[in-house]
């Protein structure tokens, strides 16, 4: 059925000068909504130029093989795009402690606004997905981490390679990525083909393709295979499936629509009210903050604690006031240290540590770190 539709599209693209887009989607909208076709020179109340369709306009050029290779780096569940390579859990742990731990915590425990990468044995944590604090708000909620929730491991390889470490992405080699994936499988206690991914495990492409995630079948509708798109359409054609209600306008409830037991639930305490800037609808002039005053209010130690200490703790990066650890940096001269800090480095230092302070202020924080008494 769907194929037929596509033939129709292709046919009209190739053969007709003005496509009637109305032809394309005769079925209900895939997302459960209304489809507004272009009819003549109009769609809904918008006018269109019907002569602007069905044209041959090719305004660019064909990408070269190397260009395609450079950009087409995504990894699909069937292994499309997954490079050859290998990495051990041991190497992964080393890399994790050098490049990831400052944000994702010990053993991927997360916290402080950074996602956890594990919550323990994936097969056990998977059971929590049925927890729902609907009737008992104090009950335990579901735990959604890589091991318990993600349907495919391909996502992990692809995402780490493209988007981590967060402050300097696309810096990991394929082997490093395999090692980090192996380590994350290890802390989630995931088995591959019945085999534990233990400390000695070496992950390869072949082994990777055998990973079956515990929550592989945890998602609806089934988007895979030749019926994928139709499954989605079917799913959204039933409002109950996604928590929606349809009603005829004339039949909507206008009186006595609430249950007798309905009650007013209030925000508990202040609720979330930590807003920046604080909420105000005042229309008076902003308070002039004197530049001098602002300068004297600048507290390098405070900035260090909120912006730098997470990494500059003596493990990931040299700690404050640790003369020995800073020696090899200072050798290059202080100006170079400032410059590297401001621009960021490939060894994991984000530009200005990810803060938004001025260059001068940044230098003050560095001075604070290098104040060895």
């Amino acid at each position: 059925m769907f194929k037929l539709d596509h033939k129709l599209i292709i046919f009209s693209i190739l053969a007709s000068a003005t496509i009637s887009f109305a032809q394309i989607v005769k079925k209900p909208d895939i997302a459960g909504g209304v489809y507004y076709p272009i009819v003549g020179d109009q769609t809904h109340i918008y006018k269109v130029n019907p002569n602007a369709y069905g044209l041959k306009l090719y305004k660019g050029r064909v990408p070269t093989k190397n260009e395609l290779k450079a950009w087409d780096k995504d990894v699909m569940p069937d292994g499309t795009g997954l490079p050859e390579g290998k990495g051990s859990v041991e190497k992964g742990e080393e890399l994790y402690e050098a490049k990831c731990i400052m944000c994702h915590g010990d053993f991927g425990s997360g916290g402080g606004g950074y996602p956890a990468l594990s919550a323990g044995n994936a097969y056990e944590v998977h059971e929590t997905l049925k927890n729902n604090r609907w009737k008992d708000p104090e009950a335990d909620g579901p735990i959604r981490v890589f091991g318990s929730y993600w349907p495919q491991a391909s996502t992990l390889f692809w995402y780490i390679k493209d988007a981590m470490p967060h402050q300097k992405t696309k810096t990991l080699t394929n082997d490093e990525t395999y090692a980090l994936v192996a380590y994350i499988l290890n802390i989630n206690e995931i088995e591959i083909d019945g085999e534990e991914v233990d400390e000695e495990y070496v992950l390869t492409r072949d082994k990777f393709l055998k990973i079956q995630m515990p929550n592989k079948d945890g998602f609806v509708p089934n988007i895979d295979g030749k019926d994928g798109v139709e499954n989605v359409r079917k799913f959204f054609s039933n409002p109950k499936n996604f928590g929606a209600i349809k009603v005829k306008e004339s039949e909507r409830c206008m009186t006595n629509c609430q249950k007798a037991s309905a009650k007013v639930v209030r925000i508990s305490g202040e609720g979330i009210s930590d807003f920046h800037p604080p909420i105000s609808v005042e229309r008076s002039l902003p308070k002039e903050v004197n530049k001098e005053e602002k300068k004297s209010n600048f507290n390098p130690q405070k900035v260090f604690e909120t912006n730098c200490a997470m990494c500059h703790n003596g493990e990931v990066a040299p700690g404050a006031k640790n003369k020995g650890a800073w020696a090899k940096f200072i050798k290059k001269g202080i100006e170079k240290v400032y410059e590297n800090g401001i621009k960021g480095t490939n060894n994991g230092m984000p530009p200005k540590g990810g803060s938004s302070i001025s260059d001068e202020e940044f230098k003050k924080v560095v001075d604070f770190m290098l104040d060895f008494d």
């Binding site: 708000p137 967060h166 945890g218 928590g243």
Partner: protein, 441 residues
């Protein structure tokens, strides 16, 4: 205080006289101080005598304003500095790089969000792209792939549409209880703008889409390489590549120079800083369509590929930020709000004064467009000391109606995070203050 009384007295004495200008200098001194006091201490509502703001020439009325050479890119009045995006630590990750700053809906006028106030959600920070180095690649199951520069892309026939973009986590912190006493945070994960770009189907006409192509990957060029899978049907319907936002280039926060726009669908699907579209016969499983942006139901199964933002509405005036504390008994006041649906066009908004037990019909106002903010209005006579529970409920032309909280939670539980569109309630207290509450049994 004494001084203020003197000033007032002086004002009434001067009532009928034109101010005598003894010297320019003295005049400036006098009006300067007078208007400063008037602005801070005297509200025109409580003033018994003449209003100084009328009797005296204001400063700005007698001297030169700025030359046209100043502010060649205009800025809002300096008095409007509180009309701004806001953020909170709760929604901060990655040093505010995987985070959101939300739109001040309570100050919004009409259906267009000014570019500087459009909500800003990023996964790796706001990227700043050099337009000269911008490239868009379209490949995969097409007969002839293509690379385009920005200038080449802009040569295709243009389309301009007004659509909202909404983060599907709008209201998502409040599944279990109300949390924000603020319209900006309760509903401000969305904005609405006029977008200009090209239909993707126009581009595809000479690329020759192959019949087995069922899904499109859209990928950003920012540090997070935000990627999402889109069904081909949306691509061939109203999906656009946009570069224009309210008559100017997209702001960096909205994906300058080019973003994907899937009208009515999750903001996260409308990939910013777009660099690549690939067509395939199988879907991708990107991080933001597995780990996140999936809706976990009580049976432990999660909805993946949840596309459209469903019908929704809110009362904008009054709101917790803009209460009715200054209203007089018997004063006629407009209750105003917004309604929107990613499934179609708003057909109806009803308003309840008792938290959703009984409803009356409100009026739609202005342009009523598909997948677009729609204004609605109800004229009310305020009774001093009355306590109200204001609940709005919208319908769209796909036939959907906003569920009650009980109805939505009954079907989908409270762990879904995304796509919450149950009716919302403001309590108006006896003093005219406004609180965010929920009505549930």
């Amino acid at each position: 205080m004494k001084k203020l009384v003197d000033v007032l007295k002086k004002n009434s004495l001067q009532k009928t006289q034109e101010p005598k200008l003894t010297s320019r200098r003295e005049f400036f001194k006098k009006t300067g101080t007078l208007s400063a006091i008037a602005a801070t201490a005297i509200s025109p509502l409580t003033l018994k005598g003449d209003d100084d703001a009328i009797i005296h020439h204001p400063e700005w009325g007698q001297v030169w304003g700025d030359p046209v050479t100043k502010n060649l890119y205009g800025m809002p009045s300096k008095y409007e500095h509180n009309n701004t995006r806001r953020y909170t630590k709760l929604l901060a990750s990655g040093n505010y790089r995987a985070s959101i700053a939300v739109t001040p809906i309570h100050e919004s006028e009409g259906i267009i969000t000014p570019n500087g106030l459009f909500f800003n959600r990023t996964h790796g920070g706001v990227a700043h792209i050099d337009p000269k180095k911008y490239r868009l690649m379209i490949h995969g199951l097409v007969k002839k792939p293509i690379v385009l520069t920005l200038e080449q892309l802009k040569r295709y026939p243009k389309v301009t549409r007004i659509h909202f973009i909404e983060c599907p986590a709008n209201g998502g912190q409040e599944w279990r209880r109300p949390q924000y006493n603020s319209l900006q945070f309760a509903k401000g994960f969305m904005s609405c703008a006029q977008w200009t770009g090209v239909y993707i189907k126009t581009l595809l006409e000479d690329l020759g889409l192959k019949p087995e192509a069922k899904w499109m990957l859209a990928e950003g060029s920012d540090s997070s390489e935000m990627a999402r899978t889109v069904p081909i049907e949306k691509v061939l319907d109203d999906a656009m590549l946009v570069w224009g936002q309210n008559g100017e280039a997209l702001r960096p926060e909205q994906g300058y120079p080019v973003r994907l726009l899937l009208p009515g669908w999750e903001g996260n699907l409308c990939v910013k800083w777009l660099k690549r579209l690939e067509f395939a016969s199988e879907p991708w499983y990107a991080k933001e369509e597995t780990s996140k942006y999936t809706v976990l139901k009580p049976d432990g199964k999660a909805i993946q590929h949840f596309y459209a933002n469903e019908v929704n509405s809110t009362v904008v005036s009054p709101s917790p930020e803009k209460p009715w504390t200054d209203l007089k008994d018997g004063e006629i006041v407009e209750i105003e709000g917004l309604a929107w649906s990613g499934m179609g066009t708003i057909t109806r908004v009803d308003l309840s004064f008792d938290g959703g037990r009984n409803y009356v019909e409100a009026n739609l106002k202005g342009l009523v467009l598909p997948k677009c903010w729609t204004r609605w209005s109800y004229i009310h006579k305020y009774k001093k000391g009355e306590r109200l529970l204001l609940t709005s409920r919208a319908m769209d032309d796909a036939g959907y109606i906003q569920p009650t909280i009980d109805e939505e939670v009954g079907m989908i539980g409270v762990e879904g995070v995304y796509h919450r569109n149950a009716v919302e309630t403001w309590e108006v207290t006896e003093n005219g203050e406004v609180n965010h509450v929920q009505i549930r049994s």
